[in-house]
Amino acid sequence: MTDRLLITSSPHIRAPKTVRGIMLDVVIALVPACVAAVIFFGVKALMVLVASTVSAVVSEYLYEKAVKRPVTVGDFSAVVTGVLLGLTLPPGVPLYVPIVGSAFAIVIAKQIFGGLGTNFVNPALAGRAFVLAAWPLHVTSAWLNPLTMDAATGATPLHAFKGGQAVGSLTDLLIGNRLGSLGETSAVAILLGGIYLLVRGVIDYRIPVAYLGTLGLGVFVFGKPGALFQGDPLRGILLGGALLGAFFMATDYVTSPVTPKGRTYFGIGAGLITLLIRYWGDYPEGVTYAILLMNLATPLIDRFVVPKYYGYMHDVEARRRAREGGR
């Protein structure tokens, strides 16, 4: 009597959030950081961001065409990877650095392992690690002075901070008026994006809170050379790439744990490794490797940190009784 009715298994309605919608939210959340980068470092910053983003999208498209897989650039995940990689680079790098970095991120770190969902490390950070190894000088010294946009030769504030020297005012750190990578500089812009992601329910607060909390505490304890409990946790968090890493890199779904508790451990672990690299390693900054290493630990965390199932206490009790009965 009726037109053909659709029969599917329940549930028959779905939540509005889709992968594409989520990725689009991340792109929106990155806009303030990109705008701040362009304000402080001008057209060069824009060029870096465009180069890394276009390279990421084109790499994904070409690779998927080449191996005859469905093209997935429409899910915006390649855009996210491209923008994120661009934000980790200094404004003065030659453009082949972001281009090659994004191609590496997409093809080697993401697509070869099966694409979105099956990559085991964060593609943007893998790309950054690659260019850091390939062109260490470009990636760690191509700084530009903010606003004047001329080449700067000095060490970044993080270097100075590590040596226990005074660094810029908190206001400058917050708005981004200082040396650094594109997305490292303006804390306000990154926080704005991070808060947007939290409010929209895109990311779990546990990772950034555990990460930045661990880092802040560690900086307070060990941050001042030769003295304990005199570090400056606020500057320790604001300098370097910790904010960008905490809100945008460590929260990557694919490479972080699936359980709430696991995410807390993930954040703490990343915080500890960052501290280790910053204060006992030779690199000035440890965010990249800290998160990459925790990416590798994620399967382990997912295996062992699992929620206690509903009613588990009855099984615990039954086992206890069985044990005591046995004696």
Binding site: H12, R14, L116
Partner: protein, 447 residues
């Protein structure tokens, strides 16, 4: 008022109760044919007491319960037994024997029906149990578990609390809500009868906070009875699941399967069940009708009907003004756990709380993408399981691994599929694994 906990997992779902929530309950009337399945409850099918051609009257027993877990069946109206034959049973998903009645329009009451009374003091516990059993009473929340079985817990289980489930956490459905608003007194009477039947001292009526009128009505009706309380739950699916309700209201967790609520001293029944018992005690009429919400964007005039068991869904949709536009899906029950049917010839069962019609444009299928490990299903799972891994194992045939992840604990509430941004059919995969594991266990038990 009892303060309920938040409970594990769950998700906010759209309400949609505004569609039929303001429509009073109306009698659906007598359709041209009633289909009464012998198997429309959990347990063994009932056994026919009538033959083709027999005249039956409203309330007359037409099939007897068989075995320990079963329920008897009664004629909802007077008429002639037209056929006893297999028909498509939507919840079982296959053909199943049914008694088909052609109503004569007289709606004549069976002479053998006698009211028991409306003074609970004067009715014995045994009498209540007998009425529950003889009325074919089953859980009207959806699972249709024979109520008589619940009222007779094994003697070693001490039951201290009876929960009356008026949560109605599924979106769209308003059958329980309207019943609570319009028949609170009867529900409370029936609930107290259930409590007496089970020998339970304390009763808690559980309602989600999106039904303020129902809460008010039930609080008013429960006021004279110090043994009754009302618990208000936050609107969060699946808070009305039996295990979730016990966790939220009492802070207890039912043991994993085959554990039952009575293992933690609790019995749970639906408000509709209590109402049906009240009717049976006061008038003698067994369970022959129930409240059905006919709702959704796909019907012209969303309504709440008092419908005879066995009424064709097509008849109810007509009563609700017919389809508005092209229908996409017709669902028996709510959108989260209901069963989609292939046509509207299927009848209302004892456990059918709603008929939901979703328009064609609302049921466009979306492509299934790879899992991005966002963990939403893990956070949403009310059983605190890991749907992400269980579904992955299930899809790839690793039944033993899925079993180790406690896939059999899954209550199939559907939240994992609901929240998945990759639109993966997690619930479906898990359900399939469960049925395969159950089949394997049965085969192993036979050997």
């Amino acid at each position: 008022m009892v303060k309920a906990r938040r409970g594990s997992g769950g998700v906010p779902v759209p309400d949609k109760k505004e569609l039929s929530g303001r429509m009073p309950i109306e009698d659906a009337g007598i359709p041209a044919e009633l289909t009464l399945f012998l198997s429309q409850h959990t347990g063994a099918p009932s056994k026919p007491l009538v033959n083709v051609g027999d005249e039956v009257k409203r309330g007359q027993k037409i099939a007897e319960a068989q075995g320990a877990v079963s329920a008897c069946l009664h004629a909802p109206t007077s008429g002639k037994v037209k056929a006893i034959e297999p028909r498509y049973q939507p919840v079982l998903g296959r053909e199943s024997d049914a008694i088909v009645i052609a109503p004569d329009g007289e709606h004549a009451l069976y002479e053998g029906l006698a009211p028991v009374g409306d003074d609970l003091e004067a009715i014995s516990q045994d009498k209540i149990r007998e009425v529950v059993r003889e009325s074919g009473l089953v859980g009207l929340g959806g699972a249709a578990f024979p109520t008589a079985v619940k009222l007779q817990p094994p003697p070693d289980k001490k039951i201290d609390t009876y929960l009356l489930n008026g949560a109605e956490c599924e979106p769209y459905l308003t059958a329980d809500q309207k019943l609570m608003e319009e028949a609170a007194q009867d529900i409370v009477f029936g609930f107290r009868a259930l409590m007496k039947g089970a020998g339970v001292e304390k009763g808690i009526i559980c309602i989600e906070d999106n039904k303020p009128d129902a809460i008010r009505a039930m609080e008013e009706a429960a006021k004279p009875y110090p043994e009754l309380e009302v618990a208000v739950l936050s609107h969060r699916y699946p808070r009305g699941g039996e295990k979730q309700l016990i966790e939220a209201v009492l802070g207890r967790e039912v043991p994993p399967p085959p554990g039952l609520p009575l293992d933690v001293g609790v019995i749970v029944s639906n408000v509709g069940t209590a109402h049906a018992l009240a009717v049976a005690l006061k008038t003698g009429l067994p369970l022959v009708e129930r409240i059905v919400s006919v709702t959704g964007e796909g019907v012209a005039r969303p309504s709440n009907f008092r419908a005879l068991i066995g009424t064709p869904v097509s008849y109810l949709i007509e009563k609700a003004g017919g389809f508005s536009g092209k229908p996409g899906k017709v669902i028996l029950g709510g959108p989260m756990m209901g069963v989609a049917v292939k046509d509207t010839d299927v009848p209302v069962l004892k456990g059918t709380s709603g008929v939901l019609v979703l328009p064609a444009q609302a049921v466009k299928s979306e492509p299934v993408l790879p899992c991005v490990r966002c963990g939403r299903c893990v956070e949403a799972c009310p059983m605190r399981l890991l749907p992400v891994w269980m579904a992955a194992y299930a899809e790839n045939g690793y039944l033993e691994e899925a079993e180790k992840m406690r896939v059999m604990d899954c209550c199939e509430c559907g939240v994992c599929s609901y929240v998945c941004p990759s639109r993966r059919p997690l619930t479906q995969s898990i359900r399939l694994a469960k049925s395969q594991i159950a089949a394997k266990r049965r085969a192993a038990a036979k050997k």
